[in-house]
């Protein structure tokens, strides 16, 4: 799953205006008051990224409810930046980085977990269960140091190259490669799998 960011145009949206988030063109009702991102572009980015963000955050937090909240928080963070007029070239990378940062941040995670639990308290039903081996894999990912966990989640979750992972996290390629190697080595050891060879990834 490799997704490209979508350029957003800065267009006016009325404060409190109603948003049509269907695939059709947005309908804005009311007087323009603040500068907000283009709804169509943001919606498109949201649709293309949301599931991947939730999946990654789920893997990193172990909770789907928390993951949904984190994914929305990451998207909202982008929305807020764009509303301020910020120029973000790689918006997909921005939300992925933001989402992974939120997911591995202990304090933030607890805050969002609490908020998510409060919000879904009355929600019935539970998220689909993962296969035991898959669940164990993500459990071990969560035990990794946060940077290693981020790199592993991005590398596998988005099928990224190491260079893309590095660009997303705004770290050097060498650093990303080191984190990935150490993460994979630790995972292989803890899961009793074949140890990866250094230089196996690029």
């Amino acid at each position: 799953m490799r997704l490209e960011g979508v350029d957003l145009r800065q267009e006016a949206l009325p404060e409190g205006g109603r948003l049509d988030i269907s695939d059709d063109a947005p309908q804005v009702v009311g007087e323009p008051a603040v500068q907000l991102p283009d709804v169509v572009s943001f919606g498109a980015l949201f649709r293309s990224e949301y599931q991947g963000l939730v999946a990654m955050a789920w893997g990193l937090t172990g909770s789907r409810e928390t993951a949904e909240d984190i994914a929305q928080e990451a998207m909202f963070s982008l929305h807020r930046q764009l509303a301020k007029g910020a120029s973000i070239e790689n918006q997909a990378g921005y939300v992925r980085r933001s989402c992974s940062n939120l997911a591995v941040s202990w304090i933030r995670r607890r805050v969002t977990e609490t908020r998510a639990l409060l919000r879904v308290g009355a929600r019935q039903g539970s998220a689909p269960a993962l296969d035991d081996d898959d669940e164990l894999f993500w459990f071990e990912v969560r035990r990794l140091p946060r940077r290693q966990a981020q790199v592993v989640a991005l590398f596998y979750g988005y099928d990224m190259s190491v260079a893309d992972v590095a660009a997303t996290l705004e770290i050097s390629t060498g650093t990303a490669k080191t984190h990935l190697h150490r993460g994979r080595r630790t995972l292989a050891s803890r899961l009793h799998l074949d140890a990866p060879h250094e230089g196996e990834v690029d």
């Binding site: 988030i21 949201f46 949301y50 898959d134 596998y156 799998l193 074949d194 990866p196």
Partner: protein, 250 residues
Amino acid sequence: MSIDALARRATQSLLAATDDLDVDVALEGTLNRRHRRGFGPVLVIITAVVVLIVGWSLSGELRRSADPAPPVDAPNRTLVGDKLGAPMTATAPPGWDVVNNRGYVEMRPTDGTPGVHIFMLVPHEVYDNSADGRAPLQDDPVIWMTNHPDLTSSGRFGVDGPDFAWAGSKVDVALRPKAEKDFVHLMPLSNAAGSAPLAITKDDAFFRWTVIYFTDSDPLAIAAVSPTPDDPELATALNELLASIQIQQQ
């Protein structure tokens, strides 16, 4: 299975498990977040201020609790000290409070009766301080008692300090101020003096103190000196008191 294979399968499992996501609802919820952010920063600031205040208060409590010499009007029943590496716990009997246990133990009456104090040294301190070539007294318990109001500060009670001179032997040693102006009598008593409990009477005319109690309990012996006939009632009371004091090395 390789780590890559498992990782990719686990990723696909997550993606498959999120197929039921309602993206439209999520998008609407995300865009509506801006409407429920009004008090967020305010709450963060309030929380930070509360945390700072509570933290500051707790740190103050910790500092006060670590004070080696709490004020008499707020005495502790039990203190633990380890000035010379041998922690000791002194538990005051009813009616008395431990007000210091750093290097020595000081007790004062709970009711604030002025001029009555009990000072006790544990053997290791006597030993560590007797570096003047005389026989170490590591096995000898020492208790100081004084009712002199000027002798409540700890700095004046060093066994080998310049203000004191040896005036006896290892078995029965009396320390007194060189200036001989303070009513202080330090009486290390050898364990060899007898089995516990053993009452010893030793008049010291010059300083008017009498050893009234000596016990060789394990691991520490407890000894006491007390004012002589001047105040027999106090001496009797102290005798009973000292019998109930417990000092333990940890």
